[in-house]
Structure formats: C-alpha cells, structure tokens
C-alpha cells in the first residue's frame, strides 16, 4: 500500500511541462545516439550530463534515464535497416532484423523491435519498482565463479549462432575469445599479443570491431555481385509496406515476456550488461521455439527476444545502482555520477529520505517508454525510406558512417584501420562459410569470463566452480545447451 502511495506521489511530480519536455528530449537524443554506430548509451548519458548540472535533481535524472532507456532501443534501428548494430546490445537484433529487411519486410523488423523494446522496458521497470531491495541483496552476493558460469552460459549459445555448422561457430567464438585477451593483462599487467604497439595495450575496441564485422563485411560482400540498375525500381526487395498487426504481436507474447524476465535478471548483475542479456535471451528463445531452424533468417521471435531483453536490462541495471550504489552497467555508472553531482547518496536512505524523487524517477521511466513508443512509431515511417535508397548511394554512406563511428570512439585512426581490417576478415570468413556473429560473442564475453575465472581460482581454487551450487547449476545448463544441438544433429543425420 505504501508502495502504491509513493508511486502516485512519483507520478504527480511529472505534472508540468519541464518533466515531460526533459523526458522527450532525453528520448529523442537517446534514440539518435543508440542508432549511431560509434556512440554508445553510456556515451549518450555522459554527453547529456553537463547540460543537466543546473537542472533540479529530479528533472536531471529523468532526462538522463530517458537517454539510457531510448539508446538501447535506438541501436535496433540501424541493426534492422542496414545490418549495423548501433549498440552491442543490438547485435542479436541484426541476426533476424536485417534478413526481414532483405525480404522486403522492414516494417515488421522496425515494428517488432519497437514494441518488444517498449514492453521489455515496462517489465524491467516494474521489477525495479516492486523488487529493488531483495534483488540487490542477491546480486551483491554473486561470487566470481558464478559470474564466470554466467559468461559460460552466454557462450553456450554459440551453437545457435552459426547456422548449420556448430563446430565452425565454436571455432569463431574461440577466435573472439582469443582476440579479447589482446592487450595488458588486467591482473598482472603483462603485455599480451601487443606486438609492441601502444594502441594494442587496451586491446581492440569492441565498437570498431562490431562495425567492421557486421557493416563493412556486408558492404564488401555486396560489391562482389553486380549492384541493381539504378534506373529500375531501386532495390530488388522493395518494402512490401506491411506492418505487423496486433495478432502478430500477440503471437510473440511468450518470447517477449520470457526475454524481458531474462533481461531484467541479467541486468541486475553488475558488469553483465545489456549485450549479454540480449545474447542469452536470443539463444533461449531459439531453444524454446517451434521454428528454431528459421532463426537467423528473419524469425520475428529472435528479433523480439533481443530487443525485449536489452530494454528490460535497463530496469535491472538500475536496481543495484539505486539500492546499493553499485552500477549494473556503464550507463548506470554515469547515472551514479549524476546522483553525486546533486548530492544524492544511493542506498536504502535514498528511498526513505527522497521517496518522491525515487518514485518520480520510476514513473518517468514508464512515461519515457510511452514517449519512445510514440516517437518510434513516427520515426519508423522515415526509417523505412532507407530501403528506397539506391545501393550506389547507400554503400558509401554506410562506409562513411562506419569509419566516422569507429574514429569517434577514441579519436583514433588506429580504430578506423581496425574497423577496415576486421571488415576484410569478416568478409573473407563469411565468404568461406564461417559465421562472424560468434566472434562478437567471444569478444563481448571474453573479459568477463577471464577476469572472473582467474579471481575465482585465486579465491577458491579450481574446484570452486563445482562446489558453489549456483555456479555448478549454470555450468551444467551451459554444457547441456552446448551439447544438445550436436546430439540432435547426429540423430537427425542417422534418421535421414
């Protein structure tokens, strides 16, 4: 009852032009930042932060949280339209979103990603409102062994990312994991595989790699064949003008709900992040789907799973941030600094001393979701026009966006060269049947897996992974998830 009263008070703080305007500006900016490759949600929140110094604390937090929320959705726009995930969390979105565009169903891709994001966001925020304290208590007790097992669970999804050849997917994941070890060792400071290059001390940055492996490799692949004649009706697969109906969204309810739950739970664990949330929920959706074989070639369930999870993880990441002062993600870390600027200390006292601010923030997140839906619906009419642009115009623009985005990460030409280099590598690997998505999976999960593996062994020896029940359960599930597709494949082969 007290919760309900506080929520009503929170909503009442939204009455007025300033809060709604702040949230709207935050959503528009967030969508744009998320869509641009090279700009991450945390970067968007950090860029907006100085503009909010002079604002009241509640308005400032509402605007910044709106940026964070909307940026996770924004990454799906470029993932669906031009196969360039705007954020790492939108990687699985591209797996099924872009094939939908190629089939002339861009409306489906954009519509499903928008609604899945909004519903996932709502569920994440509801969990935040109802279960902040108990969930934070669980999250803070996580041992490095459990973090490693969680990363292993994420890696076990590799078999579902490579189409027909699980071994090729596994090989590429190993390659991604190996690439993630390049740089200074975080524990001992040893220079690993840096070849005397200063730029490699931090390893390869994820964003230029992502852009190269997805966007540039696709461009180089397209150039192998003759581009369609521009004097004809533009691209071969013109948009069929179809949008999903309510019944189509209703069919995705199970996937959206389960992925929202997975995304929220994973978002709660500090350091896990929305990218891991979307990858794990994509894999889980594939395993529980009746049409698993169509994942990766335009299955709406895959798209919905990824977007619901990455949006739900926002609410999850706010849980430890607000209750314990431990950020659940990089963007939450920036939000923490916003709290500090306004002399607010996260923790149980914040809920007691500033209930209107806290619950006003929760209410603003719900409203931000609605505004994101409205702006998304208006914006999709514009994004759809991308399919009408001739490839001779689109390709140079995609390459330019890719190279500028790579440069913008650290103002470094090395990142641009890395982007082109990985674009070439991705193109050649795909040309000879090796999937590139598992490389990104390995890159994303590599540092989480390694640092927690080593911490766990230092703390409890190699047996710690099997003596801690949660870790053991996650490892068993990971092994099953990895092995089952192979067993199924061999069974099917014998049957035929």
């Amino acid at each position: 009852m007290e919760l309900f009263t506080q929520l009503i008070q929170g909503f009442s703080s939204l009455f007025g032009i300033s809060p709604i305007l702040a949230i709207t500006v935050g959503v528009i900016f967030g969508i744009w930042v998320g869509a641009m490759p090279g700009l991450s949600p945390s970067m968007g929140v950090a860029l907006m932060l100085p503009f909010t110094f002079r604002m009241p604390a509640n308005i400032s937090l509402m605007m910044l949280t709106a940026v964070y929320l909307a940026a996770n959705y924004g990454g799906s726009i470029t993932a669906v339209t031009i196969n360039t995930p705007g954020t790492p969390a939108a990687i699985p979105t591209a797996f099924d979103g872009y094939p939908l565009t190629q089939q002339g169903k861009i409306g489906w891709g954009l519509g499903i990603s928008l609604w899945a994001s909004v519903i996932g966001g709502f569920i994440g925020i509801l969990v935040l409102i109802l279960f902040s304290k108990p969930l934070a208590d669980i999250a803070v007790k996580m041992h490095p062994a459990e973090y490693f097992s969680l990363a292993l669970l994420g890696l076990s999804s590799v078999a579902s990312l490579g189409g027909k050849s699980g071994i090729k997917s596994f090989a590429m994941a190993m390659l991604g994991l190996l690439i993630s070890t390049i740089g200074l060792d975080p524990i001992s400071g040893v220079k690993r595989f840096t070849f005397g290059q200063l730029h490699l001390f931090d390893g390869f940055d994820l964003i230029p790699l992502l852009i190269g492996l997805f966007a540039l490799s696709e461009v180089f692949e397209r150039l192998e064949t003759k581009l369609p004649n521009t004097s004809s009706a533009y691209n071969k697969q013109k948009n069929d003008g179809q949008w999903p109906k309510i019944g189509d969204y209703w069919k995705l309810r199970r996937v959206i709900l389960q992925s929202s739950f997975i995304g929220t739970v994973i978002g709660i664990f500090p350091g896990a992040g929305s990218a891991i949330a979307s990858l794990i929920s994509y894999d889980f959706a594939k395993r529980t789907s009746k049409s698993a074989e169509t994942f990766g070639s335009g299955n709406p369930e895959g798209l919905a799973a990824s977007e619901a999870a990455n949006s739900a993880s926002v609410g999850g990441a706010m849980v430890p941030m607000l209750t314990l002062g431990i950020p659940g993600s990089a963007s939450a870390a920036v939000l923490l600094s916003a709290l500090a600027i306004h002399d607010l200390v996260p923790g149980p006292m914040l809920f007691k001393q500033q209930p209107v601010l806290v619950y006003g923030l929760f209410a603003s997140m719900l409203v931000a979701n609605l505004i994101m839906l409205a702006i998304g619906l208006l914006g999709t009419k514009i994004w759809v026009k991308v399919t009408l642009v001739p490839q001779e115009l689109l390709i140079p623009l995609i390459v330019s966006i890719a190279l500028v985005g790579s440069f913008a990460v650290k103002n470094s030409l090395f990142d641009v060269f890395s982007c082109i280099g990985f674009g070439v590598v991705g193109w050649l690997l795909k040309r000879y049947g090796f999937p590139t998505a598992p490389i990104v999976l390995g890159l994303v999960l590599g540092s989480l897996a390694e640092s927690n593996f080593r911490k766990a062994v230092i703390m409890g020896g190699y047996s710690v992974f099997f003596t801690r029940p949660a870790s053991l359960v996650l490892i068993i599930i990971s092994i099953l998830f990895f092995v089952l597709p192979f067993i199924q494949f061999h069974k099917d082969k014998k049957r035929h």
């Binding site: 860029l47 070849f195 500028v404 103002n411 060269f417 049947g433």
Partner: protein
C-alpha cells in the same frame, strides 16, 4: 629464459609482427599451391582459412611462453585455453575436409571490385591526416559514388556536402570529436 620464451618475446615485437605477417602470406601462397593436390577445389577457401587460423594459433601459443609467470593463474592460462579450443576445432574441420564430409565453399562473386574499394578506403584513411577529415571525406564520397557507377552529379554533391555538414555540426561541434585537421589547414 627458455628457447620458446625467447622466440615468443621476439614475435611479440614490431619486427616480430612483420615476420608473422610475411610468414602468413608465404604460408597462404604455399597452401594455395598444395590445395590443388590435397583437397578438392570445392574446399580451397575453407582449407586456406583453416591453415591461417592454425598458423596464427601456433604463433600466439609460442608468444604465451614469453608471459611473465606470476600468481596462481598466470596471464598465459586463459589464452592457451582458447588457443587449444581453436586448434581443436580447426583440426577437426580439416579432417572433415580431407574426408569430403564438410559442406563446400559457398559460391562467391568477383573479388576485384571489393578489393579495389578496400584499397580506396585505405587510401582515404592514409590521406586523412594530410588533407584533413572534411576534404578527404568529401573526395572519398564522390569517388565512391563514381566507382559504383552513380553519375547524378547534383545528388552526389548534395549528399557529400550534407554529410560533411552533419559531421561538422554534430560530431565536431556537439560531441567534440577531434577530426584530423590536415596539413593544408594547419599551414
């Protein structure tokens, strides 16, 4: 320091990197010549890819011997784990190729156009510090459109100018991205 550690130490240097790359090219050329005799023409691409991956795995493995040993879990443990995983997969796939059990190389198109365009991208990046980001990007966009046989000059100029303006106002002014100015502007 053991023999492998000394080699690993050398390979982990700029000269070592050059040697690794030259050897990679040599191995790929040798591999292309051998491929005609040992594998079917339908697996040439995969064979060369696996050869490159095995070679790089071995190089990385040797380099791990040069990592300083400190603590319970050294810096070499996890990379070696991934290297063994990669080597295992590559050897398994090679065996499949020799037995003809693997799926054939997918059909691809001509390599010339993508290679030329990659060259153009590299020239663009190399010239950027000299010409500056804006001039280099303007030239790159125009040459890209022409290379892809688009000849509507009004559209070409409009898009190129709009893109430069977008980068200037958004990335340069709003986000403070320090694009290379170029030697010309600095003079």
């Amino acid at each position: 320091m053991s023999f492998l550690a000394k080699i690993g130490n050398f390979l982990n240097t700029p000269n070592g990197l050059l040697l690794v790359l030259l050897m990679l090219i040599g191995i790929l050329i040798l591999g292309a010549l051998i491929a005609r005799k040992v594998v079917s023409k339908y697996y040439k691409g995969q064979f060369l890819t696996l050869l490159a991956l095995i070679y790089l795995s071995l190089i990385f493995f040797i380099i791990t011997y040069s990592f300083r040993k400190a603590g319970k879990v050294t810096a070499a443990v996890v990379p070696r784990l991934w290297i063994f995983g990669l080597l295992g997969c590559c050897i398994y796939l090679l065996m499949n190729i020799f037995r003809g059990n693997e799926s054939k190389d997918p059909e691809g198109g001509s390599l010339i156009k993508p290679l030329v365009y990659i060259g153009m991208c590299l020239i663009y990046i190399i010239l950027m510090p000299f010409l500056g980001f804006f001039i280099a990007s303007f030239i790159f966009l125009i040459t890209s459109f022409l290379f892809l046989n688009y000849h509507r000059w009004r559209v070409i100029f409009l898009i190129s100018i709009a893109w430069i303006a977008f980068n200037y106002f958004i990335f340069y002014k709003l986000f403070y991205v320090s694009f290379p100015q170029g030697v010309i502007i600095n003079i």
